[in-house]
Amino acid sequence: MLTIVSVDGPRLYPPRVTAFTRRFWEGLQAGRFTTTRCEACGKWSFPPKPFCPHCWSRKVAWAELSGQGRLYAATTIHAAPAVFRGEAPYRVGIVDLWEGVRLATRIWGAASAPLDGAVRLIVLNHADGALFAAQPMPDG
């Protein structure tokens, strides 16, 4: 289970939910970080997809990821798109989860975030739904 943090206000750029991805967003809200994994070749996909992009099999199953990983790359954005201007400067990064899944997300909190340092995904629960973020962990 991921740590859930309540955040004031709605998401500034809410993701669209489909019949297929609803399961991801609802799971996230409940503290689970899930995605699809191919039953034919065993490879993960992220974002979740109704087919496997690696082998094009349609046999995929939902599975939960640990949410634990390391920070591969990061930046602080000072010049932001209009909708995010009130949050600037803010940090974003690329995270490699232990299971070998790479994703991009917001970096949460003020803790320093060294590259290759340990991070964990957390849930940001907004008034209108959830987003995820990466929180740097002490002791890398």
Partner: protein, 403 residues
């Protein structure tokens, strides 16, 4: 073995005209406007005159698509009308993110290779500066990430390059100062280029003193907002030979799309730029040359870090040595392998949908020996690149001087 289509034709570039990169677009409320089609039509006449061909020789028009801020829609067909230019080859308008003008160049070249047209224009105009950066990014962030799984975090186009920079500094023990030398070097080049947007020389201290845009890249290490317009004249080599003046032969091209958009879920070496490596190798092999044979390179590199990574991926400098090569002068005019003699995208400017056209213009001026104070001595072979995303795809051309 020869097939049914004759693929032995060779594409050449025989003429060009370009607008100095800068701020041309007026605010919507301005009483007097500067309009894209008026400017571009003037460039068409200039380019055709530069090439020494006749209007009636032109069989195809390959446009880069305009930005959404251009009011005139169906711009290509409108321009065919505005120029009153019937075409029996093709009239098309092409979009492909930062690679847009590279793809338009390919479309123009392919019409010649297919025998549809003996003279083809590759042309376009990118107007965007009347729209503020924060508004423009509302659109551009959707071009460089998954709208539902990345855009909600506010990741801007150049933030991806900034993350490349962070990783590069971490892995190779480089520094912000090392990368900043690329901006200094490019401004020196731009000072000598009448088409460049920013020409006043700058020092390393100037670069480091700028406001941070996406850490570790400050204002002078990222591309400015720019308007621009270019017309290139391409021709089958028989036409070029008959004109009796210097021209540029397209010696080879290479292309590779890695099948990923920014990042995929599969961890890889993000700063190796596999697409540039692969497209470069294909172009070198097809031309029968090696990176050491290249006299200068016009690289599509919106940020300083990108120039470093691409010059490494193409084999122009060793891995991890790209930033140092700018500091030491190796990639400057007069150095071992001059890179971005036109000033690079930080100083030449970055009207993104026509940026690769400007790179062809620079290569052409150099290879025809018309680059003035920034002339690369004895320039025979040039390399150009175009890309999209975080170099998820790369298009590389090797160009050759024929005098």
């Amino acid at each position: 073995m020869r097939g049914t289509s004759d693929m032995t034709r060779t594409v050449t570039i025989i003429g060009a005209a370009a607008l100095p990169v800068g701020k041309w677009q007026r605010p919507a409320e301005a009483a007097e406007q500067v309009l894209e089609h008026e400017l571009l039509a003037g460039l068409v006449l200039d380019a055709v005159s530069d090439a020494g061909v006749e209007r009636g020789d032109i069989g195809s028009l390959a446009f880069s698509q305009c930005r959404p801020y251009t009011a005139q829609k169906y711009f290509a067909t409108f321009m065919a009308h505005y120029l009153r230019l019937p075409c029996s080859g093709m009239v098309s308008e092409i979009l492909g993110n930062g690679m847009t003008a590279g793809l338009a160049f390919e479309q123009a070249a392919n019409d010649i290779l297919l025998g549809r047209s003996r003279v083809t224009l590759a042309l376009g105009v990118n107007f965007e500066t009347a729209t503020a950066a924060a508004e423009h990014m509302m659109s551009s962030m959707r071009a460089v990430g998954d709208v539902d799984f990345q855009v909600p975090f506010g990741i801007t186009p150049i933030a991806w390059y900034a993350m490349d920079a962070a990783r590069y500094i971490y892995e190779f023990g480089s520094s912000r100062e090392d990368l900043a030398w690329v901006a200094v070097k490019n401004r020196r080049h731009a000072a000598l280029n009448p088409l460049a947007q920013f020409r006043k020389p700058i020092t390393l201290a100037d670069v480091l003193a700028q406001p941070m845009i996406v850490d570790p890249l400050g204002l002078f290490e990222v591309p400015p907002r720019s308007d621009g317009a270019v017309c290139l004249v391409l021709a089958e080599e028989d036409v070029a030979r008959g004109l009796g003046r210097p021209y540029v032969r397209v010696r080879s091209r290479g292309f590779f799309h890695e099948g990923a958009h920014q990042i995929s879920e599969v961890p890889n070496d993000m700063i190796a730029l596999v697409s540039a490596q692969t497209a470069g190798r294909a172009a070198f092999e097809a031309a029968g040359v090696t990176p050491a044979d290249i006299d200068f390179a016009e690289i599509y590199a919106p940020c300083t870090i990108v120039e470093v990574l691409v010059s490494e991926a193409l084999g122009l400098v060793p891995r991890g040595a790209g930033a140092g090569a700018a500091a030491s002068g190796e990639t400057s005019l007069g150095g071992r392998i001059p890179i971005c003699t036109s000033g690079g995208l930080q100083s030449r400017g970055h009207p993104a949908y026509v940026t690769p056209f400007y790179s062809f213009v620079e290569a052409m001026e150099q290879l025809r020996g018309r680059a003035g104070l920034r002339q690369v001595a004895n320039a025979e072979l040039a390399l150009t690149s175009a890309e999209l995303g975080n170099y998820n795809a790369a298009l590389v051309h090797v160009l050759e001087a024929v005098r």
